[in-house]
């Protein structure tokens, strides 16, 4: 089985006549972390629902590893990590119980866990570093830990396509980095990870593909090609606030460092000619070299 996720001219209309998504087309291959970027009401969650088969497109098709959504669901290929606000954190279940829910689809009618199920759950908990918390009630965890528990559930489900809805809201920057590291290892195993977010700054940090939506898919493809100022402006319209430093006071002797403060979300920074700026050179040596060649330094 070759993993892929393919949507071709998907149109979704709700019973009240509202067309939430029109002619959405994109394709993702195995081993990618893709960002689904758009403003609220742009159809991000509708697209998620369509991928999970909760709404039927009135037009167009979705193929998951060559299968229909229905068949993919039977094979438990698609796992979903809900937004924190959607979960009732006072619900009387432990971390172990939640991760075990990922195995339900694999169990018999009575949902009695086998030794194999227990092994998978325990392994998934270890991978996300939550093994020692397995007896806790889910409400007793921090924001980042909660996210990791639900990621463990997706792993226990052996989901090959993992959908994450706004994973970084209510999570501090250190935990955010830990989650990103985990997502990277999942990508390297060949899974497809689709992250819905409106937090632009974090996208270049960990995504390699981008799907831009605004009632349709405006653009999709590799980060460098799609995540451009012009595309983003089209996707966000007036909702994007920009601060342009026309004649910035930065000098060579500043070591070319700038400090940007923002209250919550990571800022997205473009260089002078519209290329993406990263906050750290390490790991991006090829990019630095490429830019050096371009300017002929």
């Amino acid at each position: 089985m070759i993993l892929s996720l393919e949507a071709s001219s998907v149109t979704v209309a709700y019973p009240n006549g509202h067309t939430a998504l029109r002619d959405a087309t994109f394709k993702l291959g195995a081993g990618t972390i893709a960002a689904l970027v758009g403003i609220n009401g742009s159809g991000k969650s509708t697209l998620f629902k369509a991928l999970m088969g909760f709404v039927k497109p009135v037009k167009g098709q979705i193929h998951i590893a060559g299968l229909s959504v229905e068949q993919a669901r039977k094979q438990k290929l698609v796992a979903y990590v809900p937004q924190s606000e959607e979960v009732d954190w006072t619900f009387p279940v432990s971390v172990w119980d939640v991760v075990m829910m990922g195995r339900y689809g694999h169990m018999n009618f009575l949902r009695i866990p086998s030794a194999e199920d227990k092994r998978v759950v325990s392994e998934s908990l270890e991978r996300v570093g939550m093994k020692e918390y397995q007896e806790r009630q889910i409400g007793e965890l921090s924001g980042g830990q909660k996210k990791r528990v639900f990621l463990a559930r997706a792993l226990a489900q052996s989901g090959q396509i993992i959908l994450l809805d706004e994973p970084f809201t209510g999570v501090d920057v250190t935990t955010e980095e830990a989650i990103i590291a985990l997502l990277r290892t999942l990508r390297d195993e060949g899974r497809i990870i689709l992250v819905s977010t409106h937090n632009l700054g974090s996208v270049p940090e960990f995504c390699d593909q981008v799907v831009l939506v605004n009632r349709t898919v405006l653009a999709s493809g590799p980060l460098e090609e799609v995540f451009t100022e012009q595309n983003l402006r089209q996707a966000f319209g007036g909702a994007l606030r920009q601060f342009h430093f026309e004649h910035s006071t930065i000098q060579d002797h500043d070591g070319k460092t700038v400090k940007l403060l923002t209250d919550d979300e990571r800022p997205l920074v473009f260089g002078k000619d519209g290329h993406l700026e990263y906050k750290d050179r390490s790991g991006r040596e090829d990019l630095v070299n490429k830019r050096k060649e371009e300017v002929g330094e």
Partner: protein, 284 residues
Amino acid sequence: MNLLTPLEYDYMLKAILVSGLIGAVCAFLSCFITLKGWSLMGDALSHAVVPGVSLAWLAGLPFSLGAFIAGVIAAITMGWLKRKSGLREDAVIGIVFTSWFALGLLLLSLFPSHLNLKTIILGNILAISDPDILQVVVIAGISILVLALKWRDLLLYCFDEAHARSLGMNTSFLHFLLLALLSATAVAALQTVGACLVVAMLVTPGATAYLLTDRFGRMLGMATAIGAGCSVLGAYLSYFINGSTGGCIVVLQTLVFLLALVFAPKHGLLASRRIRRLAASNLA
């Protein structure tokens, strides 16, 4: 059969007029209740007033006073318990009103009052006594007066509590006022339709009007007309079918609601089907 026969009887005339009055007051209030999402609070309070009836009888007070106080205490208990227990609101409402109601039933089974159990639960407007009519009229008058004076404040409170507070309004007072009005109308409606069906008078006309219009002012007018009309007609019809008056009134209100549900010009089922078909043809 003579269509005017019911009007020849004194008790029928009284029943029809009192039902109409109560129907109008409840319907007026129902616009606020449905918009605020307090429908089940109405149900809960109408059950919670029962022990008050019994205790007031034992203490020799007018039944409406006792019932009103019981309703208000129940409402305060619900608010307090919700804050302290962290349980869901619906669960808290469920616990408190059933306890209160059970207490009322127990008291009534131990100490029968002038209103028997069946009257309180199912209503019996045909046998309403003159002092009780007086109580109902006084409650209705006060409720109408308060609503007429404060309906704009209450509307703002229902629509946007935070904004009302930012304007310097006392929202806890408005909250309490709405609860008190709810209790008072529940008490007034107790004898017409009974504790079990009061919630229909407090919800159905408002919801029907909400389907028919998008303007609050018009919604108030329509709801009141529907509430009063159904009550008068229901009481009148109950003479002919010789059935429960409260039941007739509520069945009638539900029928009007169903008509609105299907045929309402903009929000009805037929209209939304038309809109969907239009949208589908636009897509294709």
